[in-house]
Structure formats: structure tokens, C-alpha cells
Amino acid sequence: MSTYVALLDGGAREVAVEVVPDGPGAFAVRLHGVVHRVDAFQHDHGTLSLLVDTSSYTATLDREETQVKVRVRGSVFPFEVLDERRLRLRRAPGTFTVEGRQTVTAPVAGRVVRLLCRAGERVRAGQPLLVFMAMQMENELKAPRDGTVVELLVEAGQAVEGNARLCAVE
């Protein structure tokens, strides 16, 4: 089960949605205390055909990071969708930014192609820290917050396992 929290009206309202997979394309979704049986079918022109219980809808999702605009039958609903982890971070008292030491880990097994930062360097959130390669593709791994690179545990060319700790920013 995964729980998502949608922030509506610019954060004034908060709605929790629980999703449990239930066969191919099928889900049980709890919303406002009611469990709906949902069948989702992705059309390749980018719309989602949704059967909610028996009702048929076509939804178009326009996503940018955690912001999403959902269009259903001509109505457009903008909101922010957070998963539990992001929500916890958001709820850290007094601030809505990422706090504490953040460790950057390898998403899958692969190889560190290049380092783009040095230990002790000040970095901004979103700044690329290193180039990581797996499955023949390169990706930049980015700083999760503003801060200092307090640990740098790998070097260029090094092969690492999935979830290996690469560096930390604090």
C-alpha cells in the first residue's frame, strides 16, 4: 500500500489517498473513507482511461515535479501530490525545506563516471554532484539540499552496488 497526500487550494486542504494494487491495471483506492475499485488503462496518446467502480472517465495528467494538473471531462484540477516520505519532510517543524544530513545513494548498480564536486564544497540544491552510469546510460545525481559536501565516498571510474552510499550533503 502507498499513501499519497494531495494539497488542494494552494495547500489549504489536505486529502489522503491510499492505493493498493489489485491485479494488472487494477487498484483499490481509499479516499474520504470509501474504498473504490479502480481500473486504469493508459492510452498511448497520453490519457488515462479510468473506471472508478463502474464510472468511466478519461483523465489527462500534466505533471511538473510534485505539481500536477488533472483534466477530467473539461474540468481542470491543479494540486500537489506528495508521497509519505516527502510529506514527512514537509512536516518537519517550522520549515518546508529538506533538513539534516542527506545521503546520495546509487539508484542501481553501476559506475561513477565523473565527480562534479569535491568534499567540503558548498553546493546548492539541484546542483549535479556526479555523473553515474548504469544500463549504458549516464545520469547526473544532484544535491538534495543546499549545504556542504560532508562526505565523498567514491571516485571516478568506481563500480558500485545498488543503494551504495556515494556522498552526503549537510
Binding site: Y4, A6, V17, A40, L61, V68, G74, V81, V108, M137
Partner: protein, 453 residues
Amino acid sequence: MSQPKRIRKVLVANRGEIAVRIIRTCQEMGLATVAVYSDADRGALHVRTADEAVHLGPSPARQSYLVMEKLLDAAKKTGADAVHPGYGFLSERAEFARAVEAAGLTFVGPRPEAMEAMGDRPRARARLRAAGVPVVPGLDGPLAGEAEALERPRQVEIQVFCDERGGAIHLGERECSVQRRHQKVIEESPSPLLDGPLRADMCEVALRAARAVDHRGAGTVAFLVDASRRFWFLEMTTRLQAEHPVTELVTGLDLVRLQLEVAEGAAVPRQDQVVHRGHAVEARIYAEDPARGFQPSHGKITYLRVPGGPGVRDDGGVYGGFVVSPFYDPLLGKLSAWAPDRAQAVARLTRALRDYVVHGIATNVAWLSAALSHPAFRAGQYDTGFCADHAQELLARPDAALEEVALIAAAVAAFRRDHQEAEAAAARAGAVTACGSGWARLGRARGLRGGAP
């Protein structure tokens, strides 16, 4: 009277939906067609639909669609023997009609003199007043502000057709009062305002106006009608109107075919051969965003599905994959519905709009649905103030009942994305041949149900 000639190849001096519309009738009549295009329109539907196509020049209309010599050169190069101007661009430029005829080609439209007579509005009004046509009061001189001179007028137009042999008929009226900033958006025929006697009066006056300027071919005589059902001449256009499909649906006639036949010297049908049946409504589909002040929307149409079924007519000028450029009118097409009565025709058009799917650019489709569903429109009680009066009501607001659906859609989509990312991490085995700029893409390709049973 110039000797009309048999037409074999028609150059369509226009673009977009009206060029496609004209080409379709030419194909049905077995006539060859020549399209013209600017840089921006190389991939346009009218270029693909015509038998031949000639490049005119850069995208701005004044360097392409409005350059008479280029159009005449294109006609010469392809051996076209007739030029159909469509509407807009050069369609009401007497100078162009004159140049076309001077080149020995048939201009599918009125004689240049009739165009000049109508193009000079103050003189036209004087001439018509002399012919007994009531002209909007207090408006002998000024060219603007007609609609404002009367209080809450409706705009009702009479379609006329005249031939070279003195024949002149009308094809009934079109109600054109749904206008946004003087731009028509929804038209219908018959007008919910007119009854038999008023219709007969207006049609008779319209034919008087057409005869007064010795009109030939398709013409439209526009009137303003006030709250007391008095009417005044507003203007006459001497070309095909964008909204001609509602007249075609009600009369069963093909107005482009009639234009071509009249241009070849044929007689128009007798008035008693024109039989009206049922009701038709047309909505213009624009690439514009009602939520942003109707700002035009450009870019690629990534997906297009147009509605069909009983009584629905689609006059499109675009296709899925076409790039809408900022150079021209943002009209994508027109959607019309016919039914035995007005209520059914409006319900049918509303149903069809529900099935009109455009991705990639913004359109006014939801706004059109709101307008058709508005009580004032449903009751047929609207005038040229309709769009302004109800501006706020017509802007789509989210239907609160659908909020739950939107939340479910967002949560399911998020779940899938998260799930696929996790799955992708476990899917390294077959990865060498995968194509993707990130890990998630691989997962999406594998993890999604869809597109195949």
C-alpha cells in the same frame, strides 16, 4: 457580360479549413485543384489534399497569401483556369478579381464593380437607401460602431445567390449574434428570432440589396435586428462566409458547387426548388485559451480525434501532427450539427463537442460547450451582447463532483510511477538494448498496461 468558360482546374487562393472545404467540392465535381502555401504551411492539410501545390513565400500573409502577383504566377504555372478566393485574404479585393479576369481566368465571385460598390460602405449605403433598403440609423458616415448604435441588436444574415442571367434567390438566414469581440463563434439557421413574415421581409430586402449592386454568385446581406424586431442593413459580403455549412445542412445545397456553376454561367435554382429542413448549428473551433483571455495557442497538435455520428459535420483544416503557427487566424475548423429541430440540433452539437479531442494546444472547445448549454442560448434568447454579458459564466470552472476522480487519477499515476521506478531497478538484465535517457523510461516501457489487450 464576359463570356463564362468551362472550369477545369481551380486555384484556391486561401489556406486552412476553407481551402480544404473548397478542394473537397472540386474533387466531387471532377475538377483539378491547386493549393498555395507559405513557409509555415508546407505541411498543411490543404497542400496535401490538393492535386498540386505552389509555394508562395514567407509565412507572413503580406509576403504570401496577400501577394496578387504570386497567386497569378501560381495559376499560370499550373494552368489553372479559375481562382476561388475563399474568405478573408484577397476575397473582397476588387483589384484582385480584376487582375484574375485580366489574366483570362475565371474569378469565382462577383464582378469587380459589385465588390467595389459594396467595399465603399458609405456609398453602398446611399445606393441601398435609394433602392429602398433600410440602413442602420445615424450611420451614413462612420464605418465602426454599428452594433453599438442599436441597443442589444441581433445580427441576422441572409444568404443570397445570383447568376449571370438575372436569377437571384435567397437560401434563408443565419443567426450570427454569438460574437466575441466582433468575431462570430456560434451560428445557426434558422434564427430562433424570426417568424415567417419577418423572414420573408428580410429575404426580400436582401435580394433588393443584391440586385442594387448587380451581384453575382454567393453573397451575404447582414442585418441588425432590434428588440422590436425592426431590421437594418449592416453590410453585404460578396464571398463565401465561414458559416455557410449551416445553410448547406438546412437546404441540402453545396454552396461551393453553386459558386462554381454560376461562375461557369449556369443559372441558380428556382426559389421554389430551395427547400428548408430542420435546424443546424455551427461552432468554430479556435486554437485559443479562454482561461488566458482567449490568447491564441500555437504548437503541434499531438493528437486529434474529431467526432462523428448522426447529423454531425466536421470542417477541419488540420490533422494530428500539424503545427499551428502564429501567423494566421487561429481557426482550426468548424463543427456543425443538424437535426429535425433546434433543441435536438443543440443537443447533438453539445454531444459532439464532448467527443472533440485535441492534445498539444489549447482550444475553446469547453467554452463552446458552456455557451451551447447556457440557458439564454438554449432558449434562443440572445443578442450580440451574449458573450460579454456571460463572460464569467462561460469560463469553465471545475466541476466539484469530479475532484475525487482527479485525486484518484493523480494517486494511481503516482503509484504507477513509483512502482515502475522500483521495477526498473530490478530490470537490469535486459537493459543493454533499452533506449532511454533515464531509468524511469525503461520501467515505463515494461511496466505499463496499455495500448494492447
